[in-house]
């Protein structure tokens, strides 16, 4: 089935089509589906998804049903691990400390405000709602890996996972999207960060080159919380990461670092919608793009400071490096600020450019070959983002 | 000149000054000392009508009149000048232009015509020469990118042009090395005469070596805990502010 066909199928038919069990969440699936249909699939003129190349996934005919039973090799690791295979939790491949539990989510929250059709789609069509609970006041010594694997070609796979981080806890979440099939993977991760909790979260997307991935993130940060988010985007044919972040409690702080490295005909998009909705909240964003060949990179980052956000401090910086002379190459950057109060400090900056010829010349004059000089400068550019990634993730994300 | 009586002041509902009394006569130099956070700067800001501070009680008379109802600009035009500890930067506002506006506001108050740009430039040149200030400070935007020393020099320049009668010097020694401190102090001394008074706020005694006070007051618990002459400052230097705790138990 193609995604465009979902629009035309009657809601009850869709539910029957995907063979969902009738239970307490069925009506929520239907509500999400109806909202999805009301919004429709985004087209070229869409405010947010217009530039993301999302239409390329509409033409693919995905398998009618979800096939289970794929078996993927997962790279070894000593970390704690939660593995989702083909949208299902895989306890045998997972390993967790006692203070972390994976359960079925019986009361998933459907966001009323969301206008993201893919979030709604993931809500409607996921196989099971899962939640990950982390107890209060735990400080885990090792990161928890959340690994998504899939090997069935030409399939689609939707997920909705909620994470609850208990008060005062401190966790590292290393989220790895290792999809090895030409499929459409659309998942939501909703993180509820309770008072005083601290989360470090690495999103690694390094999927196979013919995969389409949409990641929907919802962050809800309570008072005195801190989130460090790192996004590494390298693989897939098309990838869109949508980060909706709500700083809802006083003194909540969020720092976001992204490294986006599209090559060939890839289309990678980072979309951020950040809300300062409580006093004295802080945020920073650093987004680095290195665009090669005929690839496209999109950054659409919005900061909203509401009436409640007195004392907000927000900064945002997007740097793009275009390395290709091909006509199809594109960097689209849209840093936005929406401000509804006067008591704040907000700034943003963006640069788009290529390598500095004078710098290359200087390096070459010291005996370094042209190609090597370029490499040095490209490394220097991405290093500013890469260096900020936590140690536990660095060795993996540099590898491929 | 300045008569502060039973002054009670709060900021954000927190009482800072609680029944402070102070008398400054024409030509006198008073130093206010005390540990950090005791409310020294509050006193200077309240006298100059900073809007963040709430006067809960007491009175401030200046040259015989009650000034509590006057706003900051009115008090400034009456001759009260606050030299800031950390003068704020105002991008885009040319230093010279600003100073001319301020100067002409003062002239207007005195019933004089505005001074022409040419005459004003002459005046500034004369004053900067006297103070030994490098000329380019006033070509730039107000305090923007100034070094600590330049900011203080700029305050001195403003002071010398506006010719106030009551100088409120709020820790002007902060962030200055000894040489810079000396030159700022010299600048102040040049401006002083028997008709002008000084309220000097400082944490350290070293400032008092360069601007000689007639009286030294120690601020503690929101009021003047002890008063004396320069020897009091020396005593503080030797024994530290901890001795105040004893004072309190006595009083």
């Amino acid at each position: 089935m193609k995604l465009t066909q979902l629009n035309t199928l009657a809601t009850d038919k869709v539910v029957a089509h995907f063979d969902f069990a009738k239970n307490d969440v069925t009506h929520l699936r239907i509500e999400a589906l109806e909202r999805f249909k009301a919004l429709g699939l985004p087209m070229a003129k869409h405010e947010i998804f217009g530039k993301t190349g999302v239409r390329t996934i509409y033409d693919v005919d995905y398998l009618k049903d979800f096939k289970v039973g794929c078996h993927c090799e997962i790279p070894k690791s000593d970390n704690y691990r939660i593995v989702f295979r083909k949208g299902f939790f895989s306890p045998l491949q997972s390993s967790l400390p006692d203070c972390v539990k994976v359960r079925f989510e019986t009361h998933p929250q459907l966001e009323n405000e969301s206008k993201n059709p893919f979030y709604l789609l993931a809500f409607a069509l996921n196989r099971n709602f899962y939640k990950i609970e982390i107890e209060a006041d735990v400080h885990l010594e090792k990161p928890i890996e959340i690994v998504y694997v899939d090997e069935i070609h030409a399939s689609q796979n939707h997920m909705h996972v909620s994470v609850f981080v208990g008060e005062g806890s401190k966790v590292d979440i290393f989220e790895r999207i290792l999809i090895e099939s030409a499929s459409f993977f659309n998942h939501t991760l909703a993180l509820h960060v309770a008072t005083r909790a601290q989360v470090s979260h690495v999103h690694e997307q390094n999927a196979q080159a013919d995969t389409h991935i949409i990641s929907n993130y919802h962050y809800f940060q309570a008072k005195d919380t801190k989130a460090n988010i790192y996004a590494y985007e390298k693989g897939s044919n098309l990838s869109i990461s949508v980060w909706d972040i709500f700083l809802q409690g006083e003194n909540a702080q969020m720092d976001f670092v992204a490294l986006q490295l599209p090559t060939q005909e890839q289309h990678l998009s980072t979309i951020i919608d950040l809300h300062h909705d409580a006093p004295n909240t802080k945020s920073s964003q650093l987004i680095k793009q290195v665009i090669n060949d005929a690839a496209k990179g999109v950054v659409d980052a919005k900061v909203v400071v509401s009436k409640n956000g007195a004392g907000t401090k927000s900064s945002q910086l997007c740097n793009s490096l275009i390395l290709s002379d091909q006509a199809q190459v594109q960097s689209f950057v849209k840093p936005q600020l929406e401000i509804f109060i006067d008591d704040l400090e907000a700034s943003h900056g963006a640069t788009v450019g290529s390598l500095d010829e004078d710098q290359i010349y200087y390096l070459m004059s010291r005996g370094i070959h042209y190609e090597r000089a370029r490499e040095l400068l490209i490394d220097a550019f991405s290093k500013q983002a890469y260096e900020r990634f936590p140690q536990y993730a660095r060795e993996f994300i540099g590898a491929k | 000149m300045l008569h502060v009586k039973d002054l009670k002041v709060a900021i954000d509902n927190q009482t800072i000054l609680d029944g402070l009394n102070l008398d400054i006569k024409k030509g006198e130099v008073h130093a206010i000392m005390g540990p950090n956070g005791v409310g020294k700067s509050t006193l200077a800001k309240v006298i100059s009508a900073h809007p963040a501070y709430e006067v809960l009680g007491g009175s401030i008379h200046y040259k015989g009149q009650d000034i509590l109802a006057m706003d900051v600009a009115q008090r400034a035009l009456e001759g009260i000048f606050l030299a800031f500890q950390a003068p704020i930067e105002i991008p885009g506002v040319n230093n010279m232009y600003f100073l001319k506006q301020a100067y002409n506001a003062k002239r207007a108050k005195q019933g004089l015509d505005e001074m022409s740009a040419v005459d004003f430039l002459k005046l500034v040149k004369e004053k900067t020469a006297k103070l030994g200030i490098k000329a380019d400070v006033f070509k730039r935007d107000l305090n923007v990118g100034f070094s600590g020393g330049e900011k203080k020099q700029n305050e001195m320049l403003q002071m010398s042009i506006l010719e106030p009668e009551l100088f409120l010097l709020d820790e002007i020694d902060s962030g200055l090395d000894v040489d810079a401190l000396k030159s700022v102090a010299q600048g102040v001394n040049k401006l002083l005469d028997k008709n002008r008074s000084v309220l000097l706020i400082t944490h350290y005694q070293r400032m008092l070596e360069y601007i000689q006070p007639d009286f030294v007051h120690i601020l503690h618990n929101g009021r003047i805990a002890r008063s004396g002459d320069i020897s009091l400052a020396r005593e503080i230097e030797k024994n530290g502010y901890a001795m105040l705790e004893d004072v309190r138990s006595v009083s």
Binding site: E47, K307, I322, L323, D325, A327, Q328, V329, Q330, S331, F332, V333, K334, P335, Q336, L337, E338, I339, F340, I341, D342, D343, L344, E345, A346, S347, H348, G349, A350, T351, V352, G353, S354 | S48, H50, P51, A52, V72, A73, A76, L77, F81, L82, F84, P87, I88, I90, P91, G92, V93, N94, F98, Q101, A102, A105, K106, D141, L142, Q158, L162
Partner: protein, 478 residues
Amino acid sequence: MSENQVVNDILDKEYALGFTTQIDSDTAPKGLDKTILDFISAKKDEPQWMLERRYKALDIWQKMQEPSWANLEYPPINYQDISYFSAPKKKLDSLDEVDPEILSTYEKLGIPLEEQKVLAGVAVDAVFDSVSVKTTFEKQLKDKGIIFCSISEAVKNNRDLVEQYLFSVVPMNDNYFAALNAAVFTDGTFVYIPKGVRCPMELSTYFRINAVGTGQFERTLIIADEGSYVSYNEGCSAPTRDENQLHAAVVELIALKDAQINYSTIQNWYPGDENGKGGIYNFVTKRGICKGANAKISWTQVETGSAITWKYPSCILAGDNSVGEFYSIAVASRAQQADTGSKMIHVGKNTKSTIISKGVSAMRGLNAYRGMVKVGSNAKGARNFTQCDSLIIGANARAHTYPYIDVHNASANVEHEATTSKISDEQLFYLMQRGLREEDAVSMIVNGFCKEVLGKLPMEFAMEARELLNVTLEGSVG
């Protein structure tokens, strides 16, 4: 604290240009259909070809939807409740016959059409409601081969130029308001500077909406032939009225090889009251094309008026080494909404653009910067620098920034910077401690904030703009 109150009081100063002029007007019946186009065309004694184009534009407009992407809030406009033509009744046979009432209107506005501008060496075209009432210096300019006249005259007398260039930069179907304008445009200014001529004086148009229930739909076309130079300024005002009046203008600039056009606007349409009642809806399309190599177009605008401003003066940098600039000060006070910015489209090689935008929001004002920098795949060596700063005065003001950067070429270099700040209490305290009144202190800070842009205006207009900033500022800051 009393501070905000004082600022609001300052901001709340009366709109000084809100008077009405009593003159006999010839006004079209309300509504819009083909017969109105016939009416306008007949009034202006237009050739048939022009009327045909109006028909075509109306046809296009009727099939279009009013845009909503700018998130501006206003009640739906009833386009059938507007009169699309209003002109002073008395017909002008010569320039000396301008109605004395109109002349005195312009004097009240501080725009005496004769003496002072003669002294200042500025040639003025004045558009009163729908028609151009007077163009000064026409003859002196003619000696140099410069054409400076109303667009109606140009339609009749300069058909070749008009046919070639009208709708060439802003096509009829460009957007909803451009289509509307193409159908009903009544007057506006036409300028042609011949090859190699440097226009010896500032050219200036003053726009005034006077009649009730009318809109103003002027269209301006400026062509700078190879190697020529012109500096053009426009000013706008309107009476204080409870109703909202529509102003949908189009400006097209064409700079050929080595030519330069500087276009400055001081827009002070009636902004409406603090509750958002009344005021002009200023929906304007302005675009220039640097057609030849080394051409340069520079837009400077000071936007203090209008209830709603929807305006993005843009440059298409087609010629190699061409340069586009946009300098803007936009003030939104009271209940004003300003959505403004610029588009720089880099097509040719080594093209350069600069955008400096200063937005001031006060009271319940909304100021949005919306801009696009697009570098095409052939625009080797394109450079852009954008800086947009917002100054917020008061807790209810809003400042939004929406830059779009779309680059298709590796050799491009695009830089964007934005800051948001407020007038801090400490800054006000500092200035007032030196004896400045609060309103002077606020004005000083705002002028400092806008300094870079004010410096780009021609001398005579910089004074006017500064004055306007102070009044508006003592009225809306800015």
